[in-house]
Amino acid sequence: MSENLHTRALQLVAKARVEGLADSERDWLNTHLQDCEFCNEHALQTARALRALRTAAISVPTDLASRTQFRVRLRAMELRESEPKRRMLWLACAASWIFGIASAPYVWRVFEWFGHVTGAPKLVLEIGFALWWTIPALFAVIVLLLEGVQNSEERDWMRPER
């Protein structure tokens, strides 16, 4: 029997397990395995190896699920507690932006009056006015960053360090 036939048979034995075979390939392989002891033994070894892999059992620590459930519930409580704070923060930001838009003409008049009194150039006044608008966003970013740092510090002790 030619070497190519054995090579093809061994490839099909693996393909049968990985991707599955077309009917024609399966028929050809079955016929070959009936005639070829070497390839048949290879197919049996593959089947034995996979059976051994499938039937291998691992013992799970008995309290692992309950310990995990406890930790998950604790973390869920932490998240529930932090959610209203975050919602309040976004509400405060939204309110301050709405107020900012509504009061923009008056605030600009104040800036103009301040420029008139101090003689500051218009560009400085415009930059000041723009910065005034970024204050709520800056405040929100700072609060979120601080919260992020705090969370990452809390999580460090949970990380596996062994």
Binding site: A14, R17, V18, E19, Q45, T46, R48, A49, L50, A52, L53, R54, T55, A56, A57, I58, S59, V60, P61, L64, A65, R67, T68, Q69, R71, V72, R73, R75, A76, L79, R80, M158, R159, P160, R162
Partner: protein, 187 residues
């Protein structure tokens, strides 16, 4: 399956604690086994097991229910292990194995046959475990996902973040390595 995935997705979005308790119970064996195979360390597998479920709680809103829940779960677990490895500057999943600390995995026999059969079975399973540890981790991982977890190749590609063709080539090589390792172990 799709309905179940959708209901899990809805529950995770609401951070339903009862659903999470049920999922932890339901997937404890499969997740722990997967972590054991990729870390080869029981204590680490336990840590990553807990951390994975915390991530599931925190990132539950990202699961859309379009794919199998277990594929998403394994992807989270795998990323945690890889992130941890990066902080430790390890080169590959095999770097997680400490030969000094490595012990044969404990084997549980669920059928409870005769003591003689138990000894034979345990020896055979210990052979399987020790043979598996000889296989490079990237192949061990695909073998576990395909032949123990019975994931489809496309699902595996999602879990591993690699192309389908790479999954297939790893499976072919892994199969060869497994057969070789078991033959070597039996010899």
């Amino acid at each position: 399956m799709r309905d179940e995935s959708k209901s899990i997705a809805r529950g995770l979005q609401q951070r339903d604690p009862d659903l999470l308790d049920r999922l932890i119970e339901q997937y404890q064996y499969r997740l722990f086994r997967y972590l054991m195979y990729i870390t080869a360390d029981k204590a680490r597998a336990e840590d990553f097991f807990q951390e994975t479920w915390i991530r599931v709680l925190e990132r539950g809103h990202q699961y859309d229910g379009k794919s199998k829940f277990e594929a998403w779960l394994f992807a989270i677990a795998r990323h945690l292990v890889i992130d941890w490895q990066r902080t430790k500057k390890a080169q590959s999943l095999d770097a997680l194995i400490d030969p000094e600390q490595q012990k044969p995995l404990q084997i549980k026999d669920e059928i409870e046959p005769s003591p003689f059969d138990q000894v034979l079975t345990q020896e055979r399973e210990e052979d399987v475990q020790s043979s598996l540890q000889k296989i490079p981790a990237i192949y061990r991982e695909v073998l576990v996902l395909r032949f123990q977890e019975e994931l489809q190749i496309e699902e595996m590609a999602g879990v591993l973040s690699i192309p389908v063709s790479t999954v297939k080539s790893r499976l072919y090589r892994g199969l060869d390595a497994l057969r070789g390792a078991l033959q070597g172990g039996a010899a």
